[in-house]
């Protein structure tokens, strides 16, 4: 009896959590007739890909296609990931492998910096972007997201570097490897899974961001997907099928990546703890 109640509660929670995602996908697959009918159907009766065809082939904003926005978003996110991963790896190695005077200060700073309300930085970063002549360019966003994703990336990567047994590097050093070689041939391959996980977080940060992308880029052909979607969305309130199709395409990679990191993080950390 008690078990039934617990399972019932579990199902309710699952429904509440997953329903909006399900509804997004379901709506995107329904023909307009079903979307706008007086009695909504829980499952598409005549599933169709017409909305996907519509947004992928048509112009979201005159002259610019969904593919252009997708490309902008991918460009920004991937550049952010590469830069942030590189810089974070160096810093994480410093913090996890060396004892130096300002180490604790640096760690506290990392923690504090993550608490800066990024919303409060729109205005000063807008000023900086204007001064640097980067207004209306994608690099303005790459720079911004690099700053946003870095503190967390270092914080997370620090754990992965620390989990690699130091003896391996010492052995390599005894065998005559230089510091650079040790880093490249011993530490890097072992930290790579952690780097992937960290990169995914940076990717999600850059991919999802709306406010700065809305403010720093004015030229429609340079919009990232989130900005394009808010405009697309505001333009015609009734095109719910297309809006949901676009939302699904935008959301899917994030969910896949997110679930990947979740597993990777748990297994990576646990495995490291047992073997270490």
């Amino acid at each position: 009896m008690k078990k039934v109640a617990l399972n019932g509660a579990g199902l309710l929670v699952a429904l509440f959590a997953a329903f909006p995602v399900y509804w997004m996908v379901a709506t995107s697959l329904k023909p307009n007739r079903e979307i706008f009918s007086a009695t909504p159907r829980p499952v598409p009766a005549h599933p169709t890909l017409e909305h996907y065809r519509e947004i992928l082939t048509g112009n979201l904003i005159p002259g610019v296609t969904f593919g252009d926005f997708l490309l902008n978003s991918v460009l920004v996110a991937v550049s952010t990931v590469v830069l942030s991963g590189l810089v974070a790896l160096l810093a994480a190695t410093a913090v996890a492998r060396f004892r130096f005077r300002l180490r604790t200060t640096f760690l506290i700073m990392l923690l504090v910096v993550q608490m800066i309300p990024l919303e409060a930085l729109v205005i000063p970063l807008f000023l900086m972007i204007q001064r640097l002549g980067l207004y209306n360019t994608l690099p303005s966003l790459i720079l911004t997201y690099l700053g946003f994703s870095l503190p967390f990336a270092v914080w997370m990567l620090r754990g992965f570097v620390a989990a690699v047994p130091k003896e391996l590097e010492e052995a390599a050093a005894i065998d005559g490897a230089s510091r650079a070689q040790t880093f490249r041939k011993v530490l890097f391959p072992l930290v790579a899974p952690g780097l992937v996980a960290t990169s995914i977080f940076s990717f999600i940060t850059a991919w999802n961001e709306l406010i700065f992308a809305l403010t720093f880029v004015n030229d429609q052909s340079r919009y990232t997907l989130p900005v394009a979607m808010t405009f697309f969305f505001g333009r015609d309130d009734t095109a719910w099928g297309s809006v949901m199709a676009a939302s699904t395409l935008f959301t899917l990679p994030v969910i896949v990546f997110f679930l990947l990191v979740q597993r990777r993080m748990v297994s990576g950390l646990v495995a490291g703890a047992v073997k270490g």
Binding site: G10, V21, L90, R97, P117, L146, T230
Partner: protein
């Protein structure tokens, strides 16, 4: 930073009798350098800059570019904001919204965490996967879907209210036809829906963290208490809560910080920055600065006020984390 420490060989350093290694290892500082530059230039410098900008009257982009001078106005931006009755509305909205959302997120998240702990293996995996889905969904698309659910013609909620028996609907709400009902028009209803969206997005993190905390507590304690006849309420408050107090502390502080600066969800739900009665601090700051006519100085001052409020909360958070690192 490393150059500073190395190029200042003070008398004290030269005279130290102990012969330690004479050279400081520069490598860690070199490795840190790019990171420090990025954080300094892209986070700390702007943070200082926003404070500086709040003391100037900045009403055009040309001033930002440096083509025109910046008139210094001292605290005028602050006195203007603080004297404006509208600011009190915004502050009240922000504080009440944050309080309600932190409370609801914590209660729901904790309940779900406890539930996941009690469920069977398969069921727990299923529910946890669904909960992850809500967590993973970007704020933008999550909000768009909720907006569709509350659409005034074909949305599910409109349909559900239309499906109510007419007599009941009339008695409860004074209307039977809900088609075209503006769910977002009254500020209170808007905030209720915004709360729903934000809680939906943020309870998974709390649930998963609480679950992780619960798994670290030896189950014998709970069993012993239950054998002694304690009900679930007593077990939670006498055993679970005290053991997980540090976790709860951090979760409350993090939620407070996040809920104080909700932006994307509000921006999308309200369809921009026109809905002034529902303004909260972050969107107010943005609207003052970027809605024409631009007022970057005033916007900065509001951003500084928001930051100061969060600074206090952050102070609490850092103290908690440090205390935990010491304990472990």
């Amino acid at each position: 930073m490393s150059t500073l420490t190395e190029h200042t060989p003070t008398a004290a350093a030269r005279d130290t009798p102990t012969r330690r290694r004479p050279r400081v290892d520069r490598l860690p500082y070199l490795l840190l350098l790019p990171c420090l530059v990025v954080i300094g230039v892209l986070l700390l410098w702007p943070l200082g800059q926003v404070v500086a900008m709040s003391f100037f009257r900045l009403n055009s982009v040309r001033q930002l570019r440096g083509d025109r001078e910046w008139p210094f106005v001292g605290l005028a931006n602050y006195t203007q904001i603080l004297g404006d009755p509208f600011f009190r509305t915004v502050l009240r909205n922000t504080v009440l919204f944050a309080a309600a959302n932190v409370l609801l997120t914590m209660v729901l998240g904790t309940l779900v965490g406890l539930l996941l702990h009690r469920l069977g293996r398969k069921m727990a995996t299923f529910v946890a996967s669904c909960v992850m889905l809500a967590w993973a969904t970007p704020a933008l698309t999550g909000t768009i879907v909720w907006k569709w659910i509350f659409d005034d013609t074909s949305g599910l909620v409109t349909w559900a209210f239309n499906a109510l028996p007419d007599g009941l609907s009339q008695a409860l709400f004074g209307r039977t036809d809900w088609s075209g009902y503006g769910w977002f028009n009254s500020p209170l209803l808007f905030f209720a829906i915004l709360t729903l969206v934000v809680v939906w997005h943020s309870f998974p993190f709390i649930a998963v963290s609480v679950l992780a905390g619960l798994k670290s507590v030896p189950s014998e304690l709970h069993e012993a208490a239950r054998v002694d006849g304690a009900g679930p309420w007593t077990v939670f408050w006498k055993i679970t809560f005290p053991l997980l107090r540090p976790v709860f502390g951090i979760l409350v502080v993090l939620s407070t910080i996040w809920d104080f600066k909700v932006f994307t969800q509000q921006f999308v739900l309200a369809g921009g920055t026109q809905d002034r009665p529902t303004f909260m601090l972050s969107i107010y700051s943005y609207a003052e600065a970027f809605s024409p006519p631009p007022k970057y100085g005033v916007g900065s001052a509001i951003a500084v006020i928001l930051t100061l409020i969060l600074l206090v909360v952050t102070g609490l958070y850092v103290r908690m984390v440090l205390r935990q690192e010491d304990a472990s």
